[in-house]
């Protein structure tokens, strides 16, 4: 059985905080914890893709949402994933008041700094639960 923690960001298209959620997740699963985690595309989950559902159902998941609508967290829960941690990009962003993070397509240095921080938080949680 695949026991990797599933780390799922929101779609985040067209919004800088959404982009940060995606980037933080990609950094985590590809660089920080490649052996302990993997990601699943949220669109597969919401369109009812069988393989995506099987991947997260009953599995430990960490969701990362760019805005308070919490699409990733809600949809993973609906699909039967166990959300061990629902990370909000905004919580970390709030600690960096006054900084410019970039655009919906390109993060600035401050934006990259924040995604590194979020990625470290995700990795810490992965290490705790795996």
């Amino acid at each position: 059985m695949n026991t990797k923690v599933k780390v799922i960001p929101c779609s985040g298209i067209g919004k800088v905080f959404g982009l940060m959620a995606r980037e933080a997740v990609l950094k985590t699963v590809h660089e920080l914890c490649p052996d302990k985690s993997e990601t699943v595309c949220l669109a597969y989950i919401v369109t009812g893709d069988k393989e995506a559902k099987e991947k997260i159902e009953g599995c430990d998941c960490i969701t990362v949402d760019g805005c308070p609508k919490m699409c990733a967290s809600k949809n993973v829960l609906i699909t039967g994933g166990i959300v061990k941690e629902a990370i909000k990009v905004l919580d970390t962003v709030k600690e960096h008041k006054g900084k410019q993070f970039g655009t919906p397509t390109q993060l600035d240095a401050d934006g990259k700094e924040v995604i590194n921080e979020i990625a470290v938080k995700i990795a810490k949680k992965i290490n705790e639960i795996s």
């Binding site: 960001p9 929101c10 779609s11 985040g12 298209i13 067209g14 959404g18 995606r22 997740v25 990609l26 590809h30 990601t39 699943v40 595309c41 949220l42 669109a43 597969y44 919401v46 369109t47 893709d49 609508k69 699409c71 990733a72 809600k74 949809n75 919906p104 397509t105």
Partner: protein
Amino acid sequence: MVENYAILPCNGLDKCAGVISGEIAVKLCESGKNTIICPVFSKIADAKYRKITDEHPLLVIDGCATRCASKIAAEKNYRIFRKITVTEEAKRHHIELKDNLRLLEDDNSLVEIIVDGFSDAGGMAAGVSEESGFSFEFEYETFQKDKFIFRVPRNTSVYFNENDCWAYVIGNRARIGVTDFVQQNLSDILYFIPPEIGAIISQFDAAGEIESSKALVDIISPVSGMVVSINEMLVQKPELINENPYESGWIAELELTDFESDKELLIGFDKYFELMKKKVEG
């Protein structure tokens, strides 16, 4: 540049084609007054996006053949005005997509090509057929019998039926027309009777007629769908079909309703070329 569109891209998290679809959507929004529909949020924000999709033509950008964005649009009953799939566009432009999630030079070129391709599409909302994104840069295979030359486009997006009609399919749209075999047999085409815009046509139904001094023939549609535009030039100049039935002589454009099923009864270049040769030799 396209403006006032609602754009529904795929989520595009774990595949290069998906990342490209998101990039295209964002670039189209940055350069025109378009609105992105978040594929995931649209699942729960029906009222918000319903208004946008009711008021604006919808462009769906799928990354790969899984077509999540299309599925979401179908589930929501959004009326798709135009649809593209990044992997198909890449193939069409001979760009190879790899596993990278950071866009490389080729990927950015593809984004640019597709975004630029929309720069001429402003008239699409008014149903201006010349601007619907079909580009004709076909490579042809030819077969000669006496003085007659028969060409067939070698393109994986072009399908044929055994009635010597073709359909060039992009996303959920197709242009249809007749092949060289028809126009060579008819000789000088004198009249073109187009199908009605808005008509619902089933596969193998007649989609207009063409007439020469030799015969009157029905154009047998290879695909089912609704006629969204016709080649109005043909009404004045039906001889364009003789000049090039695949390019300036296209007949009509259809919004497809069941292409996956239609496809089962169509053939590609290889089979049609052989079939046509047999008919010519006949």
